[in-house]
Amino acid sequence: MALFSKFGDVRTALDLLASDGRSPFDVRFDRIISATEAVLESRPCLLFGTNNYLGLTFDETCIAAAAKSVHENGTGTTGSRIANGTYCDHALLERRIAEFYGKRAAMIFTTGYQANLGLISTIAGREDQLLIDADSHASIYDACKLSTAEVIRFRHNDPEDLARRLQRLKDRPGNRIIVTEGIFSMLGDSAPLKEIVAVKRELGATLVVDEAHSLGTRGKKGRGVCEEAGVENDVDFVVGTFSKSLGAIGGFAVSDVPDFDLLRILCRPYMFTASLPPAVVGSVTAALSRLSTDASLGARVRLNSAKLYRALALAGFELGPEPNAIIAIKMPDTGTAVRFWNRLIDRGVYANLALPPATPGSLSLIRCSVSAAHTEAQIDTALSVIVSVGRELRVLDSDPEEAPVLRTGSLLT
């Protein structure tokens, strides 16, 4: 069909990816057993690529809250937040999120993608300039497309480069809006927020931080990298998602900025879509309560992440720069990455395959995500499978006879 002829290269690339086994874009789980286990292709499978950082998808209180909400308020709201789609529970969840962050106001969105899309595209007007980290998530890039502001990328996690780019704008009218992320989704590295805040203070700008991957996984209270870096008062807007640590779907933005509520009637991705269904609002409210009251969840995901990261590094893999709940294993090329990913599934470990152009620096990655719910035995099993495949595909060149014992339990003692 002529209409689709422009996608010819995509079809070729997709067919090539699938020729090595299964299509990376068509994985179908037969059944999800728990936060860390599933049945895939009729075989049991450990889940190491689900962003389920706190393992709350099967938490009993969250399931009970979802069930209660669906029974009381039905399966869907069938309307937008500004029409018939705001229930008391939506407003309650917004208050809870604002309280959790110690901010004046919160808005919830139907997805995390829409939270970035809506907030960023609305606050950045025609005369303004958006300065975004080069490795920003697609939702931030798409927000930039929707916005009428000028968009400039700064080098990834490079506050000096950000400062240079802000300096170039110094005589221009308009507001500068810096956008970065707490933890970046591909390599699992975190932003140098103290230094970025120093640049913001010196040169004057508004700062937006997306804590999608750091809510629940970083900071004493689980509020993310902003909390850990002690810069929460300097961050004007925090954006986040309910689809990772909070185990459901949805997004949010919090702020102390006066008139934040005006966004409710300015922000198109908030206004022109149906609101979150009651069951999701119920489970997210319960999950936020679990996160707020149980510090062991965050501690466990950090411990598990450190264990797997150290063991993989010790085995000789080249990894992302720091141990976070996202652990990226760098592959020598795309073909090896695809084979690696297929063999992991063949042996009962599901991780994510991340390929260019969705990755920084044209890297091909096996992207693992770690959960507080992973047991030590599950981490050991995954590690053993990953190392074994690494040797088979010669991503690792060490002789198995001489390799160190790779039980994670021994690494932290």
Partner: protein, 84 residues
């Protein structure tokens, strides 16, 4: 000297030639998006190198308007003029 369009164009061609296989010949008419085998992120990263080289910022909407090396050179020249 850098303000001269031909010099900017020559410099872009020189920098691009280091990024792509030797079999690809880079000329002023080469399409940046389709003609170099670079993915969208690699192109944006190359634009960032040019921003540093010429001490300007090239907004993403300007990048989207550019098809060829020659057009990129003209955009940079215009931005340099604006930056004074």
């Amino acid at each position: 000297m850098i303000g001269n369009a031909n010099n900017i164009e020559a410099e872009i061609i020189g920098l691009l030639a280091r990024k792509v296989p030797a079999s690809i010949s880079v000329t002023p008419q080469t399409s940046i998006v389709g003609g170099l085998g670079l993915d969208s992120v690699a192109i944006l990263d190359f634009i960032m190198d040019l921003e540093d080289r010429f001490d300007i910022s090239i907004p993403l909407d300007r990048v989207a308007e550019v098809q060829t090396v020659s057009e990129l050179s003209q955009a940079i020249e215009a931005l340099k003029r604006t930056a004074g």
